[in-house]
């Protein structure tokens, strides 16, 4: 009896031993996003576009490091923006992210996500995953995360080698350079409005 108690206690202790914290956390962040995306796809019809935005927006807010993303996508122009402009840009960027996910994850075809590896990078971690479709075809999705407060948050998504951050930086800095930050904010607002006006479902 005593032996069983000790064994139980040992097992309980073993079970609560944390796996290497950094790896578990960055992986947990990505897997939480994936779980919510699958749920959103499965409930797509019931939720509708607006429902999908409402479901996704708070999750993205929690899991993405939007300030770092905003700094990186505006490149050298970030330091030229006052705090009100920075906040305005971050806000529209958050709304655009939710709208983009809501638009693209609009139906469920039996696909699932698999986490393949977690790699340490300088000041960051890379979580390598794949979206596996029912026909076995895969889309590689790699996430770059930074430690932000108590958790690891996403700063970049690389789909089949194409970095979202790099694409946005190239476009955004071109627009700011030629027309200014207000023009960029106006374009992003228009983009959000266009998603809302013609959602896929």
């Amino acid at each position: 009896m005593c032996f069983i108690s000790v064994l139980t206690l040992a097992l309980a202790l073993f079970a609560t031993q944390p796996v290497p914290a950094a790896e578990a956390d960055s992986r947990a962040t990505v897997e939480k996003l994936h779980a919510v995306l699958i749920e959103t796809m499965q409930q797509s019809g019931v939720l509708g576009y607006k429902g999908r935005v409402e479901k996704l927006a708070p999750v993205l807010q929690e899991l993405f490091e939007f300030e770092a993303i905003a700094r990186l996508v505006t490149g050298r122009y970030w330091t030229t923006l006052n705090s009100a402009k920075r906040s305005e840009f971050i806000e529209v960027f958050k709304r655009l992210s939710a709208a983009t996910y809501a638009e693209n994850f609009d139906g469920f075809g039996g696909e699932h996500f698999e986490t393949r590896a977690v790699e340490d990078k300088k000041n960051a971690q890379l979580v390598k995953t794949a979206l596996v479709k029912t026909d076995g075809k895969e889309v590689s999705l790699n996430y770059l995360l930074v430690k932000s407060g108590e958790m690891w948050r996403i700063v970049n998504v690389v789909a089949e080698g194409v970095s979202d951050l790099s694409l946005k930086r190239a476009e955004y800095t071109a627009v700011i350079g030629s027309s200014g930050i207000d023009a960029l904010i106006a374009k992003l607002n228009a983009k959000v409005a266009s998603y809302a006006a013609t959602p896929a479902t």
């Binding site: 490149g75 000041n123 194409v162 071109a174």
Partner: protein, 252 residues
Amino acid sequence: MQTGRIHAATVALIVSVLGSGCASTAPKSADPTDSLEGMNRSFYSFNDSLDKNFFEPIARGYVKVAPTPVRGSVTKFFENVNYLNIITNDLLQGKGGQFASDTGRFLVNSTMGIGGLFDPATSLGMPEHDEDTGQTLGTWGANEGTYLVLPLMGPSSVRDLPDAATSMLLNPLTYLNAIVTLPLGVLNAINTRANLLEASSIRDQAALDPYTFVREAYRQQREYKIYDGNPPGDGFEDYVEGDADAAILKIY
């Protein structure tokens, strides 16, 4: 077919010269390797206009009439006839195991797979690979060179140009009579465009400036392919460009 291409290229050139005045109003690239941006943007507009008015509607019609398995087999057929180019580049990159597997794949799919319409090779342990002469030059250390947008063909670069020649010379269809190759070429173009409908729809939705969007996506995907899906870097430090970025590294 060649005459048609040359004619279209001439028209595109004229359009690009006429349209070059418009290019200056577009956002300027800070990228020094896009030194032909004015001309590239003109060709991009030409291709885009042709696509929106001609190829895309045809591709949508094709998707409606051709069932998914048929389109799948058409795709496999054209992938298979392009396989000698892949096998050659396996060899040029020194990928011995992949060369053997891809040679087996080509033979199996050309015979058991009825001219490549089906893909029994994958289930026999000979998966598909994606190599081309541009990737080979990349693995040999060649830089991308100037970014190019080719009329009708789309995004390319100086490094990727030679592949247009090798993929044509190593394609068995090139050596058949035009009566066969012309309709097949048309089918390939429509089927390829149909396979890109989802990607172009994402581009149309997401891009603020589709030209820049396509250029960056093209370059990154080429880099990704050259390194077979494992490009160096991938870390946060890749994004350090100026003081603002460096400040972020200190925060995190």
